[in-house]
């Protein structure tokens, strides 16, 4: 029967579906490397991961782990205000980033620093941002870890959860109108997927035919709320078909699987002008942020088990199996990463802070007269009373 809402068959049977009536088997989780780090023989690998890319991915994962460890400690020492690690989710960030081009436009949440690192943001750029100094590309406006780079097509982070999802759809629609061979990529957690903006983005992406790859990091915890309290039904990927959208669940701890899942999702999105949803199953091994102590709400044993499944070690074993990596290289890479990160923090901490003028610029494309007047008043005041302006704040 052709209803305005769709063509559907009739049935004399009164049967509810879903919920407790006909629980469906969960969508399986695609993987290509097993927990011990060995290749799964029969796995689909439509996008072959070559040596150069694989080694670069691993080196970036090592760097990311080192940044997270040392930046976290630096925050605990009070050197800057806030930090969030991506421990346990390195393979999701790096595996997906490696499948994208820098023409693809990234809208991430706040735990995908690995993506911008892989795209070319340096450790020094990260350190400048966390210290909010004058070398920081964002001029000291954003709180730590809210990285962004126009040159790398990586939008600055929006703290308000899930707002980036509709943005990604709008940008994808613009890419489609421009006939660009690129997509937009939106990252978010399973907690953010409970926001209204998630629904708005999914439904609009599907109805507009927007080439977006949605990558959900289902890491099990939204601060202290476990995923089991976040939703009923089959996770986030399970919602894809309801929106008329292709969906895939992937092992977020398997970098090669995430690479393949993202590369294939990207191909479908661009070739078919449709959105694709990827749910990467993983675990937040660290605390939510430096404002959180997760040992208060989750079991030590759970955390220990997941840390033993470290996705970086898993990928390292696969690389060694390929003959592309060895222990000596590993030691050298970790030592070099440590040296680079410590040096970057020292350089960033010593650099001057942004000038007072950076407070007023960029509120509008051109400074309107009312802000120009307020800025002039501030400049006149600190010029007349130099002692009123802290010595570490340059005026202009």
């Amino acid at each position: 029967m052709d209803f305005p809402g769709g063509s559907v068959p009739f049935t004399p049977t009164l049967t509810f579906v879903g919920g407790t009536f006909s629980p469906r088997a969960p969508l399986p989780c695609y993987r290509t490397i097993d927990a011990a780090g060995h290749a799964v023989g029969e796995a689909d690998v439509p996008h072959v991961l070559g040596q150069d890319t694989a080694v670069r991915m691993y080196q970036t994962m090592v760097k990311l782990q080192t940044v997270d460890t040392i930046f976290y400690e630096a925050q605990r020492q009070g050197r800057f205000s806030f930090y969030m690690t991506s421990s346990g989710e390195e393979a999701t960030a790096i595996g997906s980033a490696a499948a994208l081009t820098n023409d693809d436009v990234v809208f991430s949440q706040y735990r995908e620093q690995g993506v911008i690192l892989y795209r070319g943001f340096s450790v020094q750029d990260m350190a400048h941002q966390c210290f909010g100094n004058m070398h920081e590309q964002g001029r000291g406006r954003q709180m730590p870890i809210h990285y962004g780079s126009k040159a790398l097509n990586f939008h600055t982070i929006s703290s308000t959860l899930a707002t980036q999802l509709p943005h990604a759809v709008g940008a994808a629609y613009a890419l489609r109108l421009d006939k660009k061979q690129a997509c937009s990529v939106a990252y978010f957690g399973e907690g953010a997927a409970s926001e209204g903006d998630f629904h708005a983005a999914m439904n609009f992406a599907a109805t507009l035919g927007a080439p977006v790859v949605f990558i959900c990091r289902n890491n099990g915890w939204a601060i202290s709320t476990p995923a089991t309290d976040q939703y009923r039904g089959d996770g986030i990927a399970g919602r894809g078909p309801g929106y008329g959208m292709a969906a895939l669940r992937v092992d977020g701890g398997d970098a090669r699987a995430v690479f393949n899942a993202t590369a294939e999702a990207r191909r479908i999105a661009i070739e078919e002008h449709v959105p694709v949803l990827v749910e990467a199953m993983s675990y937040r091994s660290g605390h939510h942020s430096t404002s959180d102590d997760s040992s208060r709400y989750r079991a030590a044993e759970e955390m220990r088990q997941w840390r033993a499944r470290d996705p970086v070690t898993r990928f390292q074993r696969w690389l060694i199996d390929q003959g592309w990596w060895d222990d000596a290289q590993d030691t050298a890479a970790r030592q070099e990463a440590r040296r680079e990160v410590i040096q970057a923090l020292e350089t960033a901490q010593k650099a001057p802070k942004p000038p007072l003028s950076a407070m007023f610029s960029d509120v509008y494309a051109e400074m309107p007269w009312h802000l120009a007047r307020q800025q002039a008043e501030v400049f006149a005041h600190v010029t007349a009373h130099p002692d009123a302006c802290p010595a570490d704040i340059p005026v202009k």
Partner: protein, 362 residues
């Protein structure tokens, strides 16, 4: 002392009925005016011309395409520009607002129509936290050239959730520009300026005025006619008091000025046009000339636009004032439905006249 409006007695004297709006259109047709144009046609022609001028301009919202807008402001645009540039969307304000913001980040110039600004509340996070701040947070690397437009303020007979003014809300936000047209010249010139502007613009229209014709001269009909953002307009020159308003209240103030003239009071009528940036210099210059200022708005009194007008008058020209500044506002209650109560909750020309006479000591 009650300075909000004119008190209960005046409220109860307010004339009732739907004819009020039409009667308030000023009869001051300028001699050089050659054409009458409704606000609807002014807005429609402005969008039409800007879409023809710049192919990155597109419109999205509920009912904007096939239905041609709940108030027919987008009439004929789907037929002219096709479904890729005039998009009907699912009913999710946070969705089409966020998608518009993302498209603006990527270089398009979206016009997002809210059926009314009441519904923009479901998307205000996208306007305040994303559109307004992204340029600053990206250190100027990413602009957000987008227009949010639709009917704002009191409509007629549609009660609490469809009749309120959001001018004060949006005009407090750094990063946003906020415009409120009164007549067809404003509607055309300000909307065209908004579409061409590199920053996000909140464009507050008035449902009751959509069908109202206003005289426009030939210059206004030029396809490159724009009204500068941030500048107020003196609609009528006077020497005894300055009446400051925006949108529909400018018409009330013009009518009040006519009535006051018959009593020997010369009122200057200032049309703000732009609520952010607000034309501080024009307000101050007028108050220095007249020595009195009365703000008139339909919105609520606390933290309203009138609060800002009075602050400006006091900060800029306190010593020039011959009377305490006052404001006429809507009653500080959700809008009632019953016709008598709705009428009692809104400012009237009589309120304006009474407030002016009190301030003049007459």
């Amino acid at each position: 002392m009650q300075r909000l409006g004119c008190g209960a007695a005046a409220l109860l004297r307010r004339s009732q009925g739907d004819g009020a709006a039409a009667a308030l259109v000023p009869q001051l047709v300028r001699s050089y005016a050659t054409t009458q144009m409704t606000i609807r046609d002014a807005l429609n022609s402005a969008m039409d011309e800007e879409m023809a001028r710049d192919e990155t301009v597109f419109i999205m919202g509920e009912e904007v395409a096939e239905y041609q807008g709940a108030y027919k402001i987008t009439r004929g645009l789907l037929q002219k520009y096709g479904p890729k540039r005039v998009k009907d969307t699912p009913i999710t304000e946070a969705g089409f607002t966020g998608i518009g913001v993302g498209a603006a980040f990527q270089g398009l110039r979206p016009i997002v129509e809210f059926m009314t600004f009441n519904f923009s509340m479901q998307a205000i996070d996208q306007i305040v936290n994303s559109a307004a701040k992204h340029h600053y947070m990206s250190s100027g690397a990413v602009t957000c050239p987008i227009v949010f437009r639709g009917a704002n303020g009191a409509a007629a007979g549609v009660a609490a959730q469809h009749s309120q003014c959001f001018a004060a809300w949006y005009s407090s936000v750094p990063g946003l520009k906020v415009l409120a047209p009164y007549d067809s010249e404003d509607a055309r010139g300000l909307l065209k300026a908004a579409i061409r502007d590199p920053d996000p613009v909140v464009f507050l229209e008035n449902e009751i005025l959509y069908g109202e014709p206003f005289p426009v001269d030939e210059a206004v009909l030029d396809k490159d006619f724009v009204v500068p953002i941030g500048k107020a307009k003196i609609m009528r020159s006077g020497s005894d008091i300055t009446l400051v308003g925006f949108g529909k209240m400018v018409g009330y103030n013009l009518k009040a000025a006519e009535l006051l003239e018959q009593e020997g009071i010369s009122a200057e009528v200032l049309n703000l046009r732009s609520l952010k940036p607000i034309d501080r210099d024009a307000i101050a210059a007028s108050v220095r000339k007249t020595h009195r200022v009365l703000s008139v708005e339909e919105g609520w009194p606390q933290s309203g636009v009138g609060s800002e007008i009075i602050s400006i008058a006091i900060e800029e020209c306190f010593d020039d004032l011959d009377a305490p500044p006052e404001r006429v506002t809507g009653a500080e209650v959700p809008m009632p439905y019953a016709q008598n109560l709705e009428a009692a909750a809104l400012p009237t020309v009589e309120h304006v006249v009474a407030a002016v006479k009190r301030m003049m000591g007459k």
